[in-house]
Amino acid sequence: MSNISRDEVAHLAKLARLAVTEKELDVFAGQLDQILDAVAKVGEVAADDIPPTSHAVPLTNVFRADEIRPSLSQEQALSGAPAAEEGRFRVPRILGEEQ
């Protein structure tokens, strides 16, 4: 049995930039528990000789030649942006951090 605390859900919500109400914290904590339990069941059947799998296709080394392909125009690139200025994407001010 996994046991996700309300605090952990709140922390995850903050990392994911999701506004979660107090009530939802309890709901999601319960639901996440169920999901983790379900995933843990897979672990029970995986024997030691089965390596952890992240990809469903048995491929490696898929590479592209280092050749330039056409980019979008500035207009195309900015066409979906809610706001643009001086050929750049305009975003609300960034708080609490400096690049």
Partner: protein, 501 residues
């Protein structure tokens, strides 16, 4: 806005504390295209013109790995004496920040392509320090933000920010050292020497422009202190924004004096990112570091694993060119340099440049003189590293060739070099565009000589009377009239011929 910060005297710092360094260097590869898409990998450009659905993170776009970038990563790993992973994956590093349009950075987490290496670093006095390399992994660069509003274009007080994603997705290799301990008072110097050695290595391999001023080589310096006689590492800070070799040294030194003052007054060092301030060499607090868990790394589902065969790795090993330290040994022998002479060449950053100039066909003495004298002066005036001057060894070799063939005088050659440094193109283009060829056509010179003699009949008379040294005034006038493009020796001959002296 800078509050007064307590700093401990450096001598006292190293008496009471042992510094521990960890250096993270980000290198932008000079591939033609980005890491996961075919957009051009170019510095600058009109904003948002080197972008596509993949590097903008638009829904449905799929990344494909640039094979050349993987080759470069493996070659860098090999040159740093690393082991190369038999199998490794990319991972998503999740965070929300507008410089990453995807809201995650494609990086590598616990499976770097190269690990467990070392780099031998030569200090100014010749002492060699071995710096152990923890790992070198592949990732992608972020976009660039411009903060608008606020007084200084900085984030504080800014009303909004503007994003250019031309740099987003540019291939990056992050090279991380193991903790560097036991350096004592030389820690700042070791940090600078390590970054310099790494830069020289990467330049020799031709995998990156390694321009610190343009951000294609960037260093984050982790610094912590432990009281003498203890062995448990203290809390570290990570100083970012360190854009020159000199700044690397200053940043480490500043953090040592700042942290020592905090510790000595009974305080604790906060684990945080700090920003280096070029103006006064100080650092200022940035964000408190997220933990690795907060990035919720997971294997990148859109990219399959990389499994470099041992044959491929050996093929790549064979492509590694003569490395800086091998080259230095060779030039010392070939040019008969003493240890001190070689060290001077290396310390001014000239050794590899001179060697490359010689490789491009120049005579060693000429090549040395250009780099060590004139170009070193130029670098100093511009406050940049010698190697970051906008002139290449091939350019310098060409200028030397033009002087040797008599097409340029030394004075004109310096003008050509000025033109190249000013971004006017290759030496031959500068010669053509500025019209700098030596005037070797005697008829053109004779006209100038006649005019000068006519303008100063008294001088002409003196020369005629045997005062040959008076010809200097006429030579000067001719040189002025030809804007210095005449061969002074030939001018003198023509004057004497003309007055019949």
């Amino acid at each position: 806005m800078t509050a007064v910060v307590d700093l401990m005297d450096y001598a006292e710092v190293v008496e009471r504390y042992d510094p521990v360094l960890g250096l993270e260097v980000h290198v932008e590869l000079s591939t033609k295209t980005k890491m996961f898409c075919g957009c051009p990998n170019l510095f600058g450009g009109e904003p948002n013109t080197h972008v596509c659905p993949t590097c903008l993170g638009l829904p449905g776009a799929l990344p494909v790995v640039n094979g050349r970038a993987v080759e470069s990563a493996i070659r860098i790993g090999l040159a740093l004496n690393c082991e190369i992973a038999e199998w490794c994956r990319f991972a998503r590093k999740n965070y929300f920040y507008p410089d990453m349009p995807k809201n995650f950075q494609t990086s590598q987490y616990d499976e770097p392509i190269a690990f467990n290496g070392h780099l031998d670093v030569v200090l100014d006095d010749g002492e060699v320090v071995r710096v152990d390399i923890e790992r070198a992994h592949m990732e992608e660069d972020t976009g660039k933000s411009l903060h608008v509003g606020g007084a200084t274009g900085r984030i504080h007080g800014a009303e909004h920010s503007l994003l250019d994603y031309n740099r987003a997705g540019v291939p990056l290799i992050e090279i991380v050292t193991k903790p560097i301990v036991g350096m004592g008072e030389r820690a700042p110097e070791v940090a600078r020497a390590y970054v310099a050695a790494l830069r020289d290595l990467l330049r020799a391999m031709d995998v990156s422009d390694v321009r610190m001023d343009q951000g294609s080589l960037r260093c984050d310096a982790n610094v912590s202190l432990m009281p003498k006689g203890t062995s448990e590492f203290g809390t570290r800070t990570e100083t970012k924004n360190v854009n020159s070799l000199r700044s690397v040294e200053r940043a480490v030194r500043y953090e040592m004096t700042r942290q020592a003052a905090v510790l000595a007054s009974g305080g604790t060092v906060t684990q945080e990112t700090r920003h280096f301030q070029e103006a006064d060499g100080s650092t200022s607090a940035g964000r408190t570091k997220e933990t690795a868990e907060d990035y919720r790394y997971f294997p990148e589902p859109d990219l399959v694993p990389i499994a470099p065969s041992r044959e491929w790795v050996e093929e790549l090993r064979a492509t590694i060119p003569e490395l800086p330290w091998e080259r230095r040994k060779r030039i010392q022998a070939e040019w008969n340099l003493t240890d001190e002479e070689l060290r001077d060449l290396v310390n001014t950053g000239a050794a590899d440049l001179v060697a490359a100039t010689v490789d491009a066909g120049a005579e060693p003495g000429e090549a040395r003189s250009w780099w060590v004298q004139y170009l070193t002066q130029q670098a100093n005036t511009r406050d940049v590293e010698l190697a970051d001057l906008a002139i290449t060894p091939v350019h310098v070799a060409r200028v030397i060739e033009l002087v040797k063939s008599g097409e340029l005088t030394n004075k004109l050659a310096r003008e050509v070099v000025q033109g190249v440094l000013a971004g006017e193109g290759e030496p031959d283009e500068v010669v053509a565009n500025r019209g700098l060829k030596v005037v070797s056509d005697d008829s053109a010179l004779l006209t100038a000589v006649d005019e000068a003699l006519a303008a100063q009949p008294d001088v002409a008379e003196k020369i005629r009377g045997g005062k040959v040294q008076a010809a200097g005034a006429i030579v000067g006038a001719v040189m002025k009239a030809t804007k210095g493009q005449a061969d002074a020796k030939r001018v003198r001959e023509l004057i004497l011929e003309r007055v019949g002296a």
